[in-house]
């Protein structure tokens, strides 16, 4: 079975904290994505990566950064968490031109 694993299902952090969300895939996929999902807004692309050490900004990169040091791992970093970053975060991976597989999501609450 293909698998995309996000390190946490639920996370509570304080305003101003540095937050790391980790995502690992075991399918040798080139592409990896980070989205946030908010009610009524669907999935919004934060960043994606099409290769190791490569990254591209999505629609809402402000306040976030990413790291892809190894092909299987794509990390999302909130440099200084704010309450408006409270959301569901979804990681996905895909081969180029093929369907994406999603993790279960991390529900992040910033207090």
């Amino acid at each position: 079975d293909v698998k995309v694993t996000q390190s946490s299902r639920y996370l509570v952090k304080r305003t101003g904290e540095k937050v790391f969300l980790e995502c690992v895939q075991d399918m040798d996929h080139e592409n990896m994505f980070w989205y946030r999902q908010d009610p009524g807004l669907g999935l919004r692309l934060i960043y994606f990566s099409y290769d190791v050490k490569m990254k591209e900004k999505g629609d809402i990169p402000e306040g976030y950064s990413v790291s892809r040091e190894k092909k299987e791992r794509f990390s999302l970093i909130l440099e200084s968490a704010s309450t408006n970053q409270t959301s569901m975060y979804l990681c996905a991976s895909s081969l180029q031109g093929h369907e994406a597989f999603f993790g279960q999501g991390t529900r992040l609450t910033v207090v």
Binding site: G42, F48, E99, A100, F102
Partner: protein, 111 residues
């Protein structure tokens, strides 16, 4: 930036009827289009995709239609079942990796 959107946020159908979920897109350079299904508490799951050089593709009980003239995508589900109740997202992919989603349609199947 350009975005993918949906005509209706909710759709309610009777069990056994056919469902049609619509999507409008704006990036005429997108390579392919994908439909995902998201059940409560889970990440989105791939249903079916279609390349930009096609106008119709059929799967098991599902058909995707692409009208590039009006930039419209639809998902047809035949003989809708209670297990089809979920949120459905269309997504467009550009350059085989940049993938953007619409806001989603919630499908409810009445027994």
């Amino acid at each position: 930036g350009e975005s993918v959107g949906l005509h209706l946020p909710t759709l309610s159908v009777q069990e056994g009827d056919n469902s049609i979920i619509n999507c409008a897109y704006s990036n005429s350079a997108s390579d392919y289009f994908i439909w995902y299904k998201q059940e409560s508490g889970k990440g989105p799951q791939f249903i079916i995709d279609i390349r930009s050089n096609m106008d119709k593709r059929q799967g098991q009980r599902v058909t995707v239609l692409l009208n590039k003239t009006v930039k419209h995508l639809s998902l047809q589900i035949a003989a809708t079942q209670p297990g089809d109740s979920a949120v459905y997202f269309c997504a467009e992919a550009y350059n085989n990796n940049d993938m953007r989603f619409g806001a989603g349609t919630r499908l409810t199947v009445k027994p």
